[in-house]
Amino acid sequence: MSDEERYRRPEPERTEPDRRFSTLLDNGTETAEDDDPIRHGVRLGYQVIDEHLEQGRRIAREINDRAYGPNALGRDMREMAERMIRFSSDVALLCVEMMTSFAGFEEQADGASSDGSRRASFSSRATASTPTHPTDDESRARLAVEIDRPSRVSVDLAPGGDLADLHLPHGLRGLDPNTPPLDAIELVEGDDGETLLRIQVPDDQPLDRYTGVVLARSSGEVRGTVAVHFLR
């Protein structure tokens, strides 16, 4: 069959579900705007926003054609884009939140004062754990937190990967930009194969909410975040 004889379907008017709110109200008849400003407002609103989005798409296509063709990307850029896509799809996070209670902290502070230090040591074992592979529920890594001030500690980590590969090179920063950072934070190997997040807090560290990002040493990717809120 020649190409001219082949039956061709007409181009469809649309290729996606029509979710416009204006079409829900539209019964196919034009109404005068004076009669129904509500209907007119909806139709007008969609007309304006659809045009705005189409304009954005046109600009994006122009930019895309000009700069982001397959040959325009260097190898490093392609690798970076692939890394980003991998990370973006990896949105299910392990969330660990623990609060060091005042009472529990005091008991441990008393016990730890034999060396004359005012600093107490508190270690809380997280019940949550992370699969070392996204599909592997059997093999799980455990994370414990040690901090020497009553605090609420929250750790979000992307599942998968090796906890030993993680670090916090920037420390933790307070929401107040004038607060000195908490730099004495490390991820080390703890007892029973667990990973220990150890945070040492200077006695004069101001009260604040501190946050920091957890990076993978091997790739430099962000693998999670840590937040510490001192309770006193």
């Binding site: 709110f21 400003p37 007119h40 799809s89």
Partner: protein, 353 residues
């Protein structure tokens, strides 16, 4: 209470809006304070930059950012720096807008340039805008390099859209354009108001909450409809509001020659002689527009039902916002933050200040 199409909003919902605005607004104010320098020169700069932020606005923009981030699962502190940046930039633009519009009051007190003169006010606005960069850079510590950079890009887009919208409106006034359509008005509002007030806070909050895992273009439609309702209500309050609660001079938009939906409607439906009189008034320099003429324009708006017409348009847009919200937040679990965002539609339609 009037009912927005597509929504069922109760007094409880509006109470949630007030409660969340108060809570997240206070959180943002506390986090913003350390970003305001306390050193010299204080008299002509740093004491002044604290003025607008401390006047107590509604804090809708930072609250919307925080609530969206929370609805997507983030901790508040992860989005707090972005919320601070949004509020600082908003205040920077207010100082400059007040100069460009020749406004006399802001949040119940004289505007910055009325108190200290135009040159100082311009410098204060510039500095507030520059100060908003610091929390964006500090985002590195709470969301990481990739997201911090992405939020920078989002901020650049929002600032560009806002400037373009402002240019549209200023151009209309400069050229005394009087043949505008309602679509022209909504296009200007989309850029001038919606990108900063709603679209940007939604997009940034969703980026932080999802760790960059969500396509933020889904928030443009919802943000536009919500922001447009907010702006039309603001324009109506400028004509009908209680000056103490509203915080700006009532009727000021007519005096400033702003092309509101009500003015565009009046120009369309007025008799030829009336239209010529309105056009002549708009063609005068602001200082030559007298309150008697402003009162006449206001009376003609009532006579021709321009305010009711604008309320009808706003109701339609609010219904579309409710519809688009369901699409934009599809799959996001129910929470107080999501309920806040949902209730914001009706709140924007009915607020008194």
């Amino acid at each position: 209470m009037s009912q927005t199409p597509g929504t069922v909003t109760t007094q409880d919902d509006l109470a949630v809006v007030r409660e969340v605005l108060a809570e997240y607004g206070e959180m943002t104010r506390a986090a913003l304070e350390p970003y305001l320098p306390k050193w010299e020169p204080r008299r002509h700069l740093y004491d002044l930059i604290a003025d607008y932020p401390r006047r107590g606005g509604k804090m809708m923009r930072p609250t919307l950012c925080l609530a969206t981030a929370r609805a997507f699962g983030a901790r508040p502190e992860e989005a707090l720096r972005s919320a601070v940046a949004i509020e600082l930039l908003h205040n920077a633009l207010l100082v400059h807008d007040d100069i460009e519009d020749g406004s006399e009051q802001r949040r119940g007190r004289p505007t910055m340039h009325e108190m200290f003169g135009v040159p100082i006010a311009i410098n204060v606005g510039d500095t507030l805008g520059l100060l908003s960069l610091r929390p964006l850079m500090d985002n590195l510590w709470s969301v990481g390099m990739r997201l911090a950079w992405r939020i920078m890009e989002e901020t650049e887009r929002m600032a560009r859209e806002s400037a373009e919208g402002q240019a549209l409106e200023l151009g209309w006034r400069e050229q005394n354009v009087t043949d505008l359509t309602e679509a022209d008005y909504l296009s200007m509002v989309l850029k001038k108001t919606c990108w900063l007030a709603t679209i940007h806070p939604l997009r940034v909050g969703a980026l932080i909450g999802s760790r960059g895992g969500v396509d933020v273009d889904r928030f443009i439609r919802f943000g536009f409809f919500l922001g447009a309702v907010f702006q039309i209500r603001d324009d109506l309050l400028n004509l009908t509001g209680d000056e103490t609660a509203y915080g700006k001079e009532v009727g000021g938009d007519i005096l400033e020659g702003k092309r509101t939906l009500m003015l565009i409607r009046l120009l369309r439906v007025a008799a030829p002689a009336e239209r010529a009189r309105v056009e002549a008034l708009l063609g005068l320099p602001r200082i030559e527009r007298h309150v008697e003429e402003v009162a006449w324009v206001r009376e003609r708006m009532d006579h021709h039902g321009c305010l009711d017409y604008a309320r009808g348009i706003a109701h339609g847009l609010a219904g579309a916002a409710a519809h688009e919200l369901d699409l934009a937040f599809e799959g996001v679990p129910a929470s107080r933050d999501r309920r806040f965002i949902q209730s914001l539609v009706t709140w924007s339609l009915e607020r008194a200040a």
